[in-house]
Point group: C2
Chain length 158, copies 2
């Protein structure tokens, strides 16, 4: 671990504490680093902003992309105070940073009541076996739009 790594992770942890103490949300913080500098920060704001997607990593990614005017985090590193939940890990894969550091594990999170494990497990179940009742309908109508996308000439891929 380099001194820089320690510095950036300490900042993510400081954000996790600050957000918790000010009742913005759960005890989670994250920063996005590019070229040796923090370009964006985030902490969990789920309960204070009524946004279930406002996890620290998602907030930091949104802020970083806004700053970079880009929908990808090329050459960036994310430091997060806790191993990402499936939503955040999905968001990180879509944002495509170079590297990810985390401090607490998902087991640590489960111990204080954040049971990502349930969501990880559900994602792996076949649709009929999931707790969330999930039904497919109108596949034909939906696919017509996909076919338009396939032949669209001015699309921006992501």
């Amino acid at each position: 671990m380099s001194n820089k790594d320690r510095y950036f992770m300490q900042r993510a942890i400081d954000l996790s504490r600050k957000g918790m103490q000010s009742n913005e949300g759960g005890p989670f913080g994250a920063v996005v680093v590019k070229d040796g500098k923090i370009i964006a920060e985030g902490n969990n704001c789920v309960t204070s902003t009524n946004d279930p997607t406002a996890h620290a990593e998602v907030v930091a990614i949104r802020n970083a992309c806004k700053k970079l005017n880009a929908f990808q985090l090329d050459g960036c590193t994310i430091y997060t105070s806790c191993e990402p939940c499936p939503m955040c890990l999905g968001a990180i894969y879509w944002a495509r940073p170079e590297k990810l550091f985390y401090a607490c594990s998902k087991q640590d999170a489960a111990e204080i009541g954040f049971d990502d494990a349930f969501i990880y497990k559900e994602l792996n179940l076949a649709i009929p076996d999931r707790t969330l009742k999930t039904v497919q309908l109108m596949n034909k109508e939906g696919k017509e739009v996909f076919e338009e996308w396939a032949t669209k000439t001015d699309k921006v891929k992501y």
Copy 2:
């Protein structure tokens, strides 16, 4: 499939087409329904808003929660034009709606270049085996904040 289900899914599909045609993002749309009425809508806006998390479901969930002044979608149903990616499915589990309908499958999405399958696969790998380089550090310092959360008396759980 009821007439209402058909109506709501058609709206999600219409949003997927509209967003694509206006170059807001990929061909995906979603609506949130409560008490037999659409309370919020969304379509993919990743490339037009530089937000990699602005998938249709995430946008619709954020809008619905804002409308309900709540961080959960109690009693709501989500209609989405495509089976959710891991990020969106994670967001849906955190939002806790009652039911989910989808039109296109993730295989349909892969066929037009949206390979959620890669992300689903990565989520299941042990951390050292993932494509995204991921390293744990400062676990002790991170966990100190979790211990504060555990004993915090005025926390809002979610």
